[in-house]
């Protein structure tokens, strides 16, 4: 295996965790999550319906105002007949009965107010249902082909050994991002994340085309996805190593971006609605409903999700709130599995964010990281570097990043986001990135197999700390199951930020499903729900 000399697999001997407590934690997470799943199954959102149209082949935007056709069409259906029964039947009925050559032509007339949508009945409904299903069948065939293409690319190149080294590019200009991403891959990055423009999570539409202007990041668009994936395919062939591409299915357009990611063969996606709730003040109901549909699409597309628990620790204290990370991971595991994701697609997140002034801070980090590793043995855990205590002293920051790398190597984390010594100062210089890679390469070369040769003593500080965090997690899960997850979020349980269920952005885009609701994607996605039934037993 190429590179295995510095990235040899290893397993740090287990900390003693009571399997009964672990079982209890999972059971409580399922109880806490079920009402949310039930809400998602009985509601839809404007973004879910727009994703249906995207999967059905509707692409492009109105040249008049730049608004995507999917927005125009969903808005027009909402205005004239409502979305309670889904966009598909009224849209495909209008397509057939109006003799339109394409959904885009229908959307164009709909935007001009020329189409009166209605719910078809009888044979009309049957015809619309068949046409919609056939269109989505093409869309899912395309996603399936992309997944097969990824597998073929990995066979033709090579799958890098773990930990995968994850690097960020974020210039705002896709044509600047491409050479930077290729350079990062040549220098050792296994995963490239293109950070989104900071405004995008609150846009209720997905921008179109190749973009060259963004704030602290580059817009997620279908064309940008395609350009970057193609450039990384080139560099993967050059290096003989498959370089993965990551973006963000978060914010108000989670389901649509998930669909586009599947259609353009992205490999991993940040996908955690708690991030939008806490940091972007997106309405909790809206985003939980969106998240379920987005994750179902990711499951089908073979995309690994990354969850955002690391973010809590940027506002909450990393020692006091360690258990909130574990609770959120257990919830994300439940939601992810329920949506059909395999364990190998659950890139649960956590972070190295303890104040370095705290005595034994490294031992605490080790305990937390090893606890998570043992709780989720098959999951490709994503470990995030320090940000909160990167003070501008780049020399101290470089040392802290080395300790982060060491902790990640020792506890067998799967995806290491590489820390920058200039974190919080500027978007990394070329040299910052190069030095960061030198740091992680040294640690993996020098200590990549340390896990085999190191065992925290039974009953010692590290083991006791892990047991304590697990126990606190169970206590918090009990409280959440008693009061309800949405109430717990409203109370500021996660990230010390209060987000009530009826507050935030996007609530107006939530619609309760009526009798007769039809979503043609369901046929391709909902077959994967055995887990829920199993979880309820």
């Amino acid at each position: 295996m190429p590179g295995s000399d510095i990235k040899a697999g290893h397993v740090m001997p287990a900390l003693d965790l009571d399997p009964e407590v672990v079982r209890q934690a999972r059971e409580l997470a399922a109880i806490a999550g079920q009402p949310i799943v039930e809400m998602a199954r009985t509601h839809t959102t404007v973004s879910v319906e727009r994703a249906v149209l995207r999967l059905g082949g509707l692409d492009g935007a109105d040249p008049e105002d730049g608004m995507p056709w999917v927005n125009h069409l969903v808005d027009a259906v909402a205005d004239t007949c409502g979305l309670e029964q889904g966009v598909a039947l009224p849209a495909w009925h209008a397509l057939i009965s109006g003799g339109y050559p394409s959904l885009a032509a229908l959307a164009s007339d709909a935007a001009a107010g020329k189409v009166k949508f209605r719910m078809p009945e009888g044979a009309d409904a049957g015809a619309a249902r068949m046409a919609a299903t056939a269109a989505l069948s093409d869309g899912f065939a395309r996603i399936d082909a992309r997944k097969a293409e990824r597998e073929a690319m990995i066979r033709a190149t090579a799958d890098p050994p773990k930990p995968w080294i994850y690097l960020i590019v974020a210039t705002g200009d896709i044509y600047e991002d491409i050479p930077q991403a290729q350079a990062a891959a040549r220098e050792g990055a296994d995963v490239i994340a293109v950070i989104r423009s900071t405004g995008q999570s609150l846009l209720d539409y997905v921008p179109e085309g190749a973009t060259r202007e963004g704030y602290a990041g580059t817009y997620a668009t279908r064309e940008n996805f395609r350009l970057m994936r193609s450039a990384l395919d080139d560099v993967s062939r050059e290096l003989g190593r498959y370089v993965r591409l990551t973006n963000y299915a978060s914010g108000l357009c989670m389901p649509e971006i998930a669909a586009l990611a599947g259609l353009e063969r992205l490999d991993m996606m940040l996908n955690d609605c708690m991030y939008g709730i806490i940091f972007r003040d997106i309405n909790p109901r809206r985003t939980f409903i969106d998240q379920r549909f987005a994750r179902q699409i990711h499951a089908r597309a073979g995309i690994i999700i990354n969850t955002g628990e690391d973010n809590y620790l940027t506002t909450a204290d990393a020692v006091d709130a360690a258990h909130t990370v574990v609770v959120s991971q257990l919830l994300n595991e439940y939601f992810g599995r329920e949506a059909g994701l395999a364990t190998g697609q659950l890139g649960l997140g956590h972070a190295f964010e303890i104040n370095p002034e705290v005595p034994d801070s490294f031992l605490l980090e080790l305990a937390h990281a090893q606890l998570v590793r043992q709780l989720f043995p098959g999951a490709p855990l994503k470990y995030m570097p320090p940000t909160k205590y990167m003070t501008g002293n780049v020399f101290a920051g470089y040392l802290l990043d080395a300790f982060f790398n060491l902790c990640g190597a020792l506890t067998d984390q799967s995806i290491l986001l590489i820390g920058m010594m200039t974190e919080g100062i500027h978007t990394p210089f070329l040299s910052d990135r190069d030095l960061a890679l030198e740091n992680v390469r040294y640690v993996l070369r020098a200590a990549g197999r340390l896990g085999e040769n190191f065992r925290p003593p039974p009953g010692g500080f590290v083991e006791r700390r892990a047991q304590q965090v697990l126990a606190e997690s169970v206590d918090l899960l009990r409280r959440i199951t008693a009061e309800g997850l949405l109430s717990a979020i409203a109370d500021g349980t996660f990230g010390v930020t209060r987000r009530p269920a009826d507050g935030g952005r996007g609530l107006a885009g939530v619609i309760e499903r009526a009798e007769g609701y039809f979503n043609p994607a369901g046929e391709f996605l909902e077959g994967r729900e055995q887990f829920l039934e199993a979880g309820q037993s």
């Binding site: 040549r186 900071t198 405004g199 704030y215 190069d434």
Partner: protein, 260 residues
């Protein structure tokens, strides 16, 4: 004893001997250093740059190829430049740092009601970390945020608030102060946002009492308040208590004006 203590007003950087002027810099040049010839050229270019920056003599102690097109350098050298302390301008804090209890007491006695603070990040900026550090109970740097003060009522509007919405909400809440944190600095987004806010509130004034305008963020220069049209700018490392002290000092002044 430092140079300043000794009454010197002119100083140089200190390496290991007074007046040696020695410093370290690192930078990247868009030059390859794959071959011996390329490397010699790249190092020569680095030395020339150092000399032009005033480092003389300069020593290129580290040169490393970064991919086929770039080379990274670390250079040590002595600068010729002198710093005259008499010419250094420092923005001094115009208000005393008060305790939490003192802040609450002043607000109670001067206003006889809660002091209302509306906070947000505006425009494209989605980073609430700064405003949350100042406003949330959790606070920052070991100090609790403004929410924890009994006499301060906080309305945190969160991220990406439209300037018009911020003004409307500030009016509706009867805000005594508006706090805006901006982190995003690409294309001077933070400066533009601050100016927009100042303009929006000055349009609104006349109809209502204008709240105190405070902006903050890691890349703001506290000396820019006048230029931006706001009352106060807080830069990197500001703590919640500093902001609370400023608000109490400005909005709830002591009758005799000689406390602390």
């Amino acid at each position: 004893m430092t140079a300043a203590d000794a009454g010197h007003t002119v100083i140089r950087p200190y390496g290991d001997t007074t007046g040696d002027g020695r410093i370290q810099v690192s930078f990247t040049l868009p030059l390859p250093s794959g071959t011996e010839e390329e490397r010699a050229l790249a190092e020569g270019a680095a030395a020339q740059l150092a000399a032009k920056m005033g480092l003389e003599p300069a020593m290129v102690v580290h040169a490393k190829a970064m991919g086929p097109d770039f080379t990274f350098f670390i250079v040590y050298g002595a600068v010729r430049h002198l710093v005259d302390l008499a010419d250094v301008e420092v923005a001094r804090r115009e208000f005393p740092l008060l305790s939490g209890a003192e802040i609450n007491r002043r607000i109670r006695s001067a206003l006889g009601r809660e002091l209302v603070v509306v906070g947000a990040t505006v425009g494209v900026d989605a980073h609430t970390v700064g405003i949350d550090a100042i406003l949330n109970v959790k606070g920052h740097a070991g100090e609790k945020g403004l929410e924890s003060y009994a006499e301060i009522r906080v309305v945190n509007l969160g991220a990406q608030v439209a300037v018009g919405d911020l003004v409307a909400r500030a009016v509706a809440e009867g805000a005594d102060a508006v706090l805006v944190s901006q982190v995003v600095t690409q294309r001077d987004a933070h400066i533009l946002a601050a100016r927009q806010i100042a303009e929006a509130f000055s349009e609104e004034s006349g109809r209502t009492r204008r709240p105190l305008l405070v902006v903050g963020g890691p890349r703001f220069d506290p000396a820019m308040a006048g230029e931006l049209g706001v009352d106060r700018v807080f830069g990197r490392g500001t703590t919640p208590r500093e902001v609370a002290s400023y608000l109490a000092y400005t909005l709830a002044p002591e009758p005799q004006g000689n406390a602390a």
